[in-house]
Each structure stands twice: as structure tokens, then as C-alpha cells.
């Protein structure tokens, strides 16, 4: 109703949705990578995000601008990811689905509790102190959100170019296609896995650093980002980067619209409901293609 009478509020909702959707897309892209290449469904995805957020926030409390937290979070989380791969993921990667789910779920709990022990359970926010602009009369845009949006785009672009052009990128793609064949061709798949997992952690760290500046972080918030990442990847499919980005942005906007129209209590329910519809629709679509093999 109001949206029709005062269309300017659509702009606010769309912008807020886009800005936040970009960080969702980033975290989901990391998940798609790990899922696609290693077939590990990382339930600690959201906790990696929150860790990145705490890195930026902590730097902020030390008097360093939280934006510097972005590169720091990328480096620290890359190293952290490598450590986790060597100690945990390597041991579960060729086990069945439940082993890797359990391992990463355990990891999620440990990370959340460690953050809680180190920083306490309070909600934290990193302050960028950038201006808030007003456009079209009532629409407000925080500069930090625009900046975060642009940075997300740049990071995604950097990852795409890396995957296309670099030797490691090619090795990752080869391993994703057929790990055994890649090994035969002389690719050190263990190293590829380690690198992929660390890259994912670094991407999450970057997303988290931005989230701490535009939203709030708390040790136990990881799960909601894990869920969002899974929703996005499930909807888009993990080989499909443009799909992940579109789904991420779409999810951000959907959340905002359903929050506005139906109330905050339906914000996430709508998103998960939508996922169900997508899955049902896919199922119907694929049934047509399915053939009986005799």
C-alpha cells in the first residue's frame, strides 16, 4: 500500500537489500567454491564470517580504522583456513557426507565459544565514521554501505580473474571437474584443497569485516550467515557464479521487502519459503529431462 503511494520507499528497500545482499553473495560464493571443489559442506561458514568481523572490530578498538580490517581479515583468515584444513578438513574430506558435516558443525561451535571467551557475548559494531547521505528527500544511504558494495564487487571480480587466469585457479577448476584425473595429470590435489579452503576462509573474513561495519556482530550470529549461504548456493547451484551473485542480491532485497510488507517476523521465513519453491520447481523441470535407462 505505502509502496504504491510513496514509491520512494522502494528505493530505500532496494538499496538496503542490494548492499547487504552483496555481502551474502560473497560468503555464499566461498561456500560454493568449497562445496564444488571439495564436496565439503562447510557449516562453519557463518562463523568464519563472524571471525572476520571480530578482526575488523578489534582493530577498530585499537585505534586502527576498521577498513584496514579488510586486508588484515583476508590474510589472517587465509592462514586460519590453512590451519583448519591441515588439522581437520584433510581428515574428513574423503569420508562420507555426515562426517564432514559433523566436523564443520563442531568447528562452528568451537569458533563461536572461543569468540565468546575472548570478546564476551556483547553485540559489537565497528564504526567507520563515514557520512550518511540523503537522496530523494527521505532515502538515506550510508557511504560505508556503498563502499562495502563496491569492495564486494571488486573482490568477487578478483576471485573470478584468479580462477580463470592463474595456474592455481586452473588447478582448482581441474580438480573440481575430476579430482582423480587431475591427480593423474600431476596436480597436487591436497594442496589445491588446502588453497581452496583457505581462499574460502579469506573471502568469508572479508565479508565479515564489512558486516561489522554495516551491521552488528556477536559470537553466536554465525549460524544465520551459514543458513543464508546454503540457501543462496542451493538456489543458484555451485558451478554458477553469476547465479550466486544474483541469488545473493535477490535474497537481500527479498528479506527487506518481506520485512516491510509482512513484518520482521517473516523476513527470513519468506526467504526459506522461496527456496522451497525454487527446489520444487527445479524438481518438476528436471523430471521432464529424466529418462529411463534400460
Amino acid at each position: 500500500m505505502i509502496l504504491v503511494q510513496a514509491p520512494v520507499f522502494n528505493v530505500q528497500l532496494l538499496l538496503d537489500g542490494l548492499f547487504i545482499g552483496a555481502t551474502f553473495a560473497l560468503a555464499a560464493y566461498g561456500l560454493a567454491l568449497v562445496w564444488g571443489v571439495m564436496n565439503v559442506k562447510n557449516l562453519a561458514q557463518g562463523d568464519f564470517v563472524i571471525m572476520g568481523g571480530y578482526i575488523a572490530w578489534w582493530l577498530g578498538t585499537q585505534g586502527i580504522h576498521p577498513l584496514w580490517g579488510l586486508p588484515v581479515a583476508i590474510v589472517v583468515m587465509f592462514a586460519f583456513g590453512w590451519g583448519i584444513y591441515v588439522t581437520i578438513i584433510r581428515r574428513v574430506i574423503d569420508k562420507d557426507l555426515f562426517t564432514s558435516l559433523l566436523a564443520t558443525f563442531g568447528l562452528a561451535i568451537v569458533i563461536a565459544q572461543l569468540l565468546n571467551l575472548m570478546f564476551g557475548p556483547e553485540v559489537q559494531t565497528a564504526e567507520s565514521d563515514f557520512a550518511i547521505r540523503q537522496i530523494l528527500g527521505v532515502v538515506t544511504v550510508a557511504e560505508i554501505k556503498v563502499l562495502a558494495f563496491v569492495l564486494c564487487g571488486l573482490l568477487a571480480l578478483a576471485v573470478v580473474i584468479f580462477m580463470k587466469k592463474s595456474r592455481m585457479g586452473q588447478a582448482i577448476r581441474a580438480t573440481a571437474q575430476d579430482a582423480r584425473a587431475a591427480r593423474v595429470m600431476g596436480i597436487d590435489t591436497d594442496k589445491v584443497y588446502a588453497f581452496t579452503f583457505s581462499l574460502n576462509a579469506a573471502i568469508c573474513g572479508a565479508a565479515g569485516a564489512m558486516i561489522s561495519m554495516i551491521w552488528v556482530i556477536q559470537p553466536f550470529y554465525g549460524i544465520s550467515y551459514s543458513i543464508r549461504s546454503f540457501v543462496i548456493v542451493t538456489a543458484a547451484g555451485f558451478g554458477n557464479l553469476p547465479g550466486v551473485i544474483m541469488a545473493g542480491l535477490g535474497l537481500g532485497m527479498m528479506e527487506n521487502y518481506s520485512g516491510f510488507v509482512l513484518g520482521a517476523e517473516f523476513q527470513q521465513a519468506t526467504v526459506v519459503g522461496l527456496l522451497l519453491l525454487v527446489l520444487v520447481w527445479r524438481q518438476i523441470q528436471q523430471r521432464k529431462l529424466r529418462q529411463v535407462v534400460s
Binding site: G120, P121, E265
Partner: protein
């Protein structure tokens, strides 16, 4: 066969437990009365759990320094035996059973949070041992007919109700009808916040006010910009929010970001979320309810005034810039125990329980008098307004130290 063996083992374990349980008189070792508490030192409630523990300890220390508690002509010291419930209600219940059955404790101080207190109350009923709690405000604790649970704090439905009365008062002063006030509500979907909402709704009904927005935020939601965009569109006269510290932090940040210009905003947990230091001027003129403030003119013989308590607390514990009300009410709970022991003049659990039920005392934390249901009906919630970064009491008018600023200045750059 195996099942029968298990049953036999369990039966003997139960029998042993019963045999080990100390007689109903109590847990008094020499000249020390032991109070028991399972409270959160780790987990999500740990910050406030430790605030509460500090409050208990200060109460115990001060009472002991003043000579202790006189029962039957003899002086006794107080001591609290703690266990860490890890912020999980299940652990709270287990540990309280342990305190009763293995440690023989019969007098209890509460855990931190409504959720853990909810787990504690049935244990107290089961063993018929009294608990004076200071940190569980949910009204669902006081409509179950519990006879052994007493709370010194105001219950949660009173938290924001006073903001409705204030809005009505202001509307009438401006020549408008109270029933014209449009209210926007955003509450987290958890027992505590829904209690707060119920209280607000009750008072709105009394004035005939309308809710233009009534959103419930999910527990893990950290974005309320959609709700706030609605606030911008519908222009309510009053915005009330409650969602623990994370709700307050999220709301304060996004109220600033979206430049919400509602003339009156009230929310819970401002202090816990440290919104003044994080979001500065943008939080000016926001109203925050509190159980207690050091500027109130409450006083007693032990601690003196609220301000004296504030000073003593800061001198005793390092690292406090403000004394959390969680600590003050914890101290008051210990005072209730001391007072009840002296009036009962006995360690008999039933006599002490009846003495607690008959409590009618003044403390630095406010008056304490329990209803039949066990909640404190003598102390009001006060409403403070953030004025230039300071929290000043503005309502109810009996305790107000500063006039209320209205309309609120919208945050700008």
C-alpha cells in the same frame, strides 16, 4: 534381565540420595549460613552473570562487616556457594538439584536470566526450598502459583509501559487526545521481549492508542532497516523497541543511519548495548527504562543512599564506569535474605519462607514487598532519557530529576 538390573541400580541410587539428603532444618555450618546459587559465569549470559555475582558478594561482604545476621541471639555470617550453569537452563536445574541433594543447601539466590530462573523455579517447588531471585523478570515466573520463588526486581511487562503513559501525558499537554497517539512497535520474538510487549499493549489499550506497526524480530535478526523504513513511511508518534542488547545496538545504529525522526523513541537495554558511546549524538533523547539508577533517592541503613552504593561498588570492583542495575538488585536479594532470617529468628525452611513472603523493607535499590505471586510490587520501573550522553531520570514524575526533552532531535550529520 539387564533392564531389571538398571532399575535396581537406579532405585538404590535414589534411596541413597534420599538417605544422604540433610534434614529439613538447613545448611548452617558453625556460624556461617550457606546460600546457594547456580549462575552464569560462562556462555552467553556470562557478562551479566558476573555482574550479579559481584552484587551478591558485595551484599554478603557488607552484611558480614556489619556483624552478620542474628538468629536466636547468635551472630551468623553469610556465604554463597556458586556453581557455573554455563548459561543453559538444563545445567541450572541439574546444579540446583546438586546443591539441594549433595551439598544440603536450603536457601537460594537466583541465577541470571528469565530462562534459567524458569528452570530453577520447579526445583525450588519440588524440594520446598525458597529462592530470592534478582535477575529473572519474565512475568511467566509469577503466574504459575510458585510458592518458593521471590523476585526483588520489577517484572518485564512494566519495562516500557511507562513510556506509553508519558506519550499520553505529552499528547494531552500539546492539546491532542491520548487516543490519537500512533505507536510503532518492534519486539524480539522471545519470552522476555514479548512480556514487555504485552505490558505496552495493556497500557495502550487503557489510553485507546493504535499500533501502526507491530513487528516481531526473529532471535538472530541483525537488520531491522525494513521495519524502520516502515516507521519512516507511517510517521508514528512513538517508537518502542525491545530485543536485548543486540536489538538495542542494531536499532540505535540503524535509527542513526536511516535518520528516523520519530519524536519519541523508547527501547530497553540501552546501557547494556553501550549505545551512547557507540553512536554518540544520534542516541540523544532516546528513552530507556531501568530497574534502578544511582541518582534515585532510595536509601537504607546498611548501604546508605543509592549513590553511596554506587560509590562503594566502584571502589570494590575495578573496571566499572557505571554500576549495572543487575548488580544492585542482586545485592538487594541478599539483603532480603538477611532481613528474613532475623525476622524468622529460626533456620526452619518454612518459617524463613513465610518471613520472606512477609518482607516489607526499604533498600537502596527501592522498596521490597512481595505479592502473593512472589514479585516485588513496591518498586516502580523508572524511565531515563539520554540527554547529552547522560542518563537522566525523567519519569515517573515522583522520581524525575530532569524534564523530558520532546520532540526528540532527529539525528543528522
Amino acid at each position: 534381565m539387564k533392564a531389571r538390573l538398571t532399575t535396581a541400580v537406579m532405585a538404590s541410587a535414589v534411596a541413597l540420595g534420599v538417605a544422604l539428603a540433610t534434614p529439613a532444618s538447613a545448611k548452617v555450618e558453625g556460624d556461617t549460613i550457606i546460600l546457594g546459587s547456580a549462575i552464569s559465569f560462562t556462555g552467553k549470559y556470562s557478562t551479566n552473570g558476573i555482574h550479579a555475582k559481584n552484587g551478591y558478594e558485595l551484599g554478603v561482604k557488607k552484611i558480614n562487616e556489619a556483624g552478620g545476621v542474628t538468629v536466636g541471639g547468635k551472630k551468623y555470617k553469610l556465604k554463597v556457594q556458586y556453581y557455573d550453569d554455563e548459561s543453559t537452563p538444563l545445567r541450572t536445574a541439574q546444579l540446583l538439584e546438586r546443591l539441594v541433594n549433595q551439598d544440603g543447601v536450603k536457601y537460594f539466590l537466583g541465577p541470571y536470566s528469565s530462562a534459567t530462573t524458569k528452570a530453577a523455579a520447579p526445583i525450588m517447588e519440588k524440594y520446598k526450598v525458597p529462592m530470592v531471585e534478582a535477575e529473572g523478570a519474565s512475568r511467566s515466573l509469577f503466574n504459575k502459583g510458585y510458592k518458593y520463588l521471590f523476585a526483588v526486581l520489577s517484572t518485564s511487562e512494566q519495562y516500557l509501559a511507562s513510556s506509553i503513559a508519558l506519550a499520553a501525558e505529552i499528547a494531552e499537554k500539546n492539546g491532542k487526545k491520548a487516543s490519537d497517539v500512533k505507536v510503532a512497535m518492534a519486539f524480539e520474538n522471545d519470552p522476555f521481549s514479548l512480556d514487555v510487549r504485552a505490558g505496552v499493549l495493556e497500557d495502550m489499550e487503557k489510553y485507546g492508542m493504535k499500533a501502526v506497526i507491530d513487528d516481531k524480530m526473529p532471535r538472530d535478526l541483525n537488520d531491522i532497516s525494513a521495519t524502520l523504513t516502515k516507521v519512516k513511511a507511517l510517521k508514528p508518534d512513538l517508537l518502542v523497541l525491545s530485543g536485548h542488547s543486540k536489538g538495542a545496538a542494531t536499532a540505535a545504529r540503524q535509527i542513526k543511519e536511516l535518520q528516523i525522526d520519530t519524536p519519541m523513541i523508547a527501547m530497553t537495554h540501552c546501557e547494556a548495548a553501550k549505545i551512547t558511546s557507540k553512536f554518540g549524538e544520534a542516541t540523544n533523547d532516546i528513552l530507556c527504562p531501568t530497574q534502578w539508577a544511582e541518582t534515585l533517592s532510595y536509601k537504607d541503613d546498611l548501604f546508605g543512599t543509592a549513590a553511596d552504593y554506587d560509590k562503594l561498588f566502584k571502589a570494590t570492583y575495578e573496571g566499572y564506569k557505571n554500576v549495572p542495575y543487575q548488580s544492585a538488585q542482586a545485592t538487594a536479594a541478599v539483603q532480603v535474605w538477611a532481613d528474613a532470617f532475623e525476622r524468622a529468628n529460626s533456620f526452619d525452611v518454612e518459617k524463613v519462607r513465610d518471613a520472606i513472603a512477609a518482607t516489607d523493607m526499604q533498600t537502596f535499590y527501592g522498596a521490597v514487598k512481595f505479592s502473593e505471586a512472589g514479585n516485588n510490587i513496591a518498586k516502580p520501573m523508572v524511565l531515563r532519557q539520554i540527554q547529552n550522553g547522560e542518563y537522566n531520570v525523567v519519569a515517573p514524575s515522583k522520581w524525575a530529576s530532569h524534564p523530558v526533552n520532546w520532540p526528540r532531535k532527529a539525528p543528522s550529520n
